[in-house]
């Protein structure tokens, strides 16, 4: 075990994956010598050479297309998109190509092993072009897996599982936690299975569900709720696609209440999918409406970021409202 921040854990995962498997290759804008603008790929070029860790020209559609091609050949590209806000030029390559590669060819070809890593989310005074949380756009795309870790330990295990996966993965990294989140991380190789949510804290009155950087916000909110005598069950979804319906259903059958929190705007966000599924599966057990605490339906703001975000106070209020319904 070693104390690592999230960037170190990610860097360590990439290092282990590259050491273990010579077909793992990392690339993206500024990813090579410089180690990426956040330094997630630091020292990898030094260690594994320019062929396996390199800068690309400034073209996200090119990066994604290149990654698709490499993966189709059987290698394991780990491509970085510098900010999740800039993943949209690659949308066609990801949604029409990556996601459908195996299906359309009848399994003659596939891009399993391909991972897109990208920092997402707000909290860094980045405005609407350095703060977006676009997971819902990808979660509507059969063929992809979509993963969001909440801390260094999770980041390493989930990233290693993503690289090992036979399916392509979009791996969203909560950039505001890159240096802020630290913890004990095993130095050796380990995987955390994809598609499985984690019940982080058991409780009986209400289930609180989130992922990524919103977990710590929910932790604050449930502490406030605890002080009021409300017992919350906290679930980290971890995998947005596929998502672990059974774990959430089991929890809501017990608590009868669900509060979902995400950074992205409310309308069309992934909380809608979860709420729709859970109201259907738990209909007779729900004691209050499923609540969603999300970003507003606007681009992510700058000056009024505090007002905009799905913070602990809004989450706390939703928990109380749910219990008092």
């Amino acid at each position: 075990m070693a104390k690592m921040n999230m960037l170190q854990a990610i860097n360590n995962a990439l290092d282990l994956a590259m050491a273990k498997d010579s077909t793992v290759v990392c690339f993206g804008e500024d990813v090579g010598h410089f180690g990426g603008v956040f330094r997630a790929t630091s020292k990898l070029q030094e260690k594994y050479g320019k062929d396996r860790c390199f800068n690309t020209p400034l073209t996200e559609q090119g990066i994604a297309g290149f990654a698709n091609g490499m993966a189709a050949q059987g290698m394991k590209p780990v491509a970085e998109i510098q900010f999740a806000d800039y993943i949209f030029p690659a949308f066609d390559q990801i949604v029409n190509e990556t996601a459908k590669f195996r299906y359309r060819s009848g399994n003659e070809f596939n891009v399993g092993g391909l991972v897109f890593r990208t920092p997402y989310g707000g909290g860094i005074a980045g405005g609407h072009y350095h703060s977006q949380s676009p997971e819902a756009y990808f979660a509507h795309t059969p063929g992809l897996k979509v993963i969001v870790p909440r801390d260094p330990y999770q980041a390493k295990g989930l990233l290693l599982a993503s690289i090992a996966s036979e399916d392509p993965v979009i791996f969203f990294e909560p950039k505001k936690l890159y240096r802020a989140s630290t913890g004990e991380v095993p130095e050796e190789y380990y995987e955390i299975p994809l598609g499985v949510a984690e019940v982080m804290q058991e409780g009986k009155d209400v289930t609180v569900l989130a992922w990524g950087a919103q977990i710590e916000i929910c932790q604050k909110a449930i502490e406030m709720a605890a002080a009021k005598g409300i017992s919350c069950e906290l679930i980290d979804l971890r995998s947005i696609l596929p998502w672990d319906v059974d774990t959430v259903v089991k929890s809501v059958l017990k608590t009868g209440r669900l509060v979902i929190n995400h950074e992205a705007p409310l309308t069309g966000g992934f909380a809608g999918e979860i709420a729709a599924t859970i109201q259907q599966r738990c209909f007779l057990h729900l004691e209050s409406p499923i609540a969603r605490v999300c970003g507003l339906d606007t681009p992510y703001p700058l000056a009024l970021e505090r007002e905009y975000v799905a913070d602990h106070l809004k989450t706390f209020e939703a928990i109380v409202a749910s219990v008092q319904f």
Binding site: R102, G106, G143
Partner: protein, 393 residues
């Protein structure tokens, strides 16, 4: 002074534009319409077996296209795309490759596919989306693909294969394979952003790709002069620091020669090459299209004379490698074989219900299992509404 800008550092003191047509690229032609070689040209070094395989691939595709377009008109298949007029471009280039060079095609490259050995049955199974289709009946007709013969399954979105080819070839290089990737695309698809990304990345990362543009004058109804203002596509090579060459796409010897040279260069240096085939899309864009709405019969007639097969045929006959009568008989026989294969393929069952959810992921995720179970229950309730699958559940 260092030159971090990566640009020429010669100086002028008088402002002058570089013309948008400063670079003109000639067209390589070797074989004349009458089957003789142009004065001053030399035919590439082809052995008889290869030369005949090239010919038979072209004539097979010509007959298949004819038949299957007719089958589409009869309502037996839903859609079809011919390559009339461009057979030499794809067969000639495929013949210059190694069998393990990856082919990434657009959709009008059945010539290359046939040259690689895709069987008549395989064509038919794909066209009828039956359960023997390697693609499991999931894509529209002509979206062929086969791992065994290194032919990437076609994808309808245009241009996407271009940066993919760069990545594929880069992986070939990293693995130490002595193989290239060839990437075919139309002059229309060359307008997509993916074209720019793919060519630039291949040049920067030294990926051994042959970018093969089939400039056939039209993208559906849009003529090339409403597609770009430069001199064809080949001139874009300088923008990427990439060697380029243009050939008459109806001249199989020129195409073969240029592709061979490009492949040698790519293998030797890992540098990509841009090739441009100049030909004419003689048929409609697809079975859904009618070109009479956007071009003249005269233009078509003029180009029809430029037939890639007939001149090559004359060359082969003159060389004594092909017998006129025997060949005609063989083509006649082929018509029958195709019809027989069609009749077989159209009776083969469609893929089973499990293939509605297979291959979305390596293993179906739980939600897909749930959806399939629910669907099966529904089909059992209404078997008549789902005749393709209900009988076999």
């Amino acid at each position: 002074m260092t030159n971090p800008n990566n640009a020429t550092i010669s100086t002028v003191h008088t402002a002058d534009f570089t013309s948008g047509h400063a670079l003109q690229i000639p067209t390589l032609r070797i074989l004349q319409d009458d089957g003789t070689i142009y004065p001053g040209a030399t035919a590439p070094d082809l052995d008889q077996e290869t030369a005949l395989k090239m010919y038979h691939s072209m004539s097979f595709i010509r007959v298949l296209d004819e038949r299957m377009l007719a089958a589409q008109r009869q309502g037996r298949i839903s859609f079809y795309m011919q390559c009339l007029g461009e057979e030499a471009a794809t067969v000639g280039s495929a013949a210059a490759l190694d069998d393990k060079d990856m082919i990434m095609a657009q959709y009008r490259e059945q010539g290359a596919l046939r040259y690689r050995g895709f069987s008549l049955e395989q064509f038919m199974n794909q066209l009828f989306s039956n359960e023997k289709d390697l693609g499991k009946g999931r894509q529209m007709p002509v979206h062929y693909g086969s791992k065994d013969i290194y032919y990437m399954t076609i994808s309808s979105p245009l241009g996407t294969q271009i940066p993919q080819a760069a990545g594929y070839a880069y992986a070939q290089k990293l693995r130490g394979l002595s193989n290239v990737t060839i990437c075919y695309f139309g002059e229309g698809a060359a307008s997509e952003g993916d074209f720019h990304a793919g060519l630039n990345m291949a040049a920067v990362h030294k990926a051994p790709v042959l970018f093969f543009c089939r400039n056939n004058g039209y993208a559906i109804s849009t003529p090339a002069n409403e597609q770009f203002k430069g001199d064809g596509i080949a001139c874009r090579g300088v923008g990427y620091g990439m060697k380029a060459i243009r050939m008459d796409g109806a001249d199989i010897l020129a195409v073969y020669q240029a592709t061979k040279m490009a492949r040698d260069h790519a293998i030797a240096t890992n540098e990509p090459v841009l090739l441009e085939s100049i030909a004419y899309r003689l048929g409609a864009h697809s079975s859904s299209d009618d070109p009479s709405g956007y071009r003249s019969k005269e233009e078509e007639e003029q180009w029809r004379k430029n037939d890639p097969i007939s001149r090559y045929r004359l060359w082969l006959i003159a060389k004594g490698w092909l017998d006129d009568a025997a060949d005609k008989a063989q083509i006649e026989a082929l018509r029958g074989e195709i019809l027989d294969a069609l009749k077989v393929a159209e009776k083969v069952a469609k893929p089973g219900i499990e293939h509605l959810i297979s291959d979305v992921y390596a293993e179906p995720i739980p939600e897909l299992e749930r959806q399939l179970a629910e669907l099966k229950q529904h089909i059992r309730k209404y078997p008549d509404a789902y005749p393709i699958t209900s009988g076999r559940m």
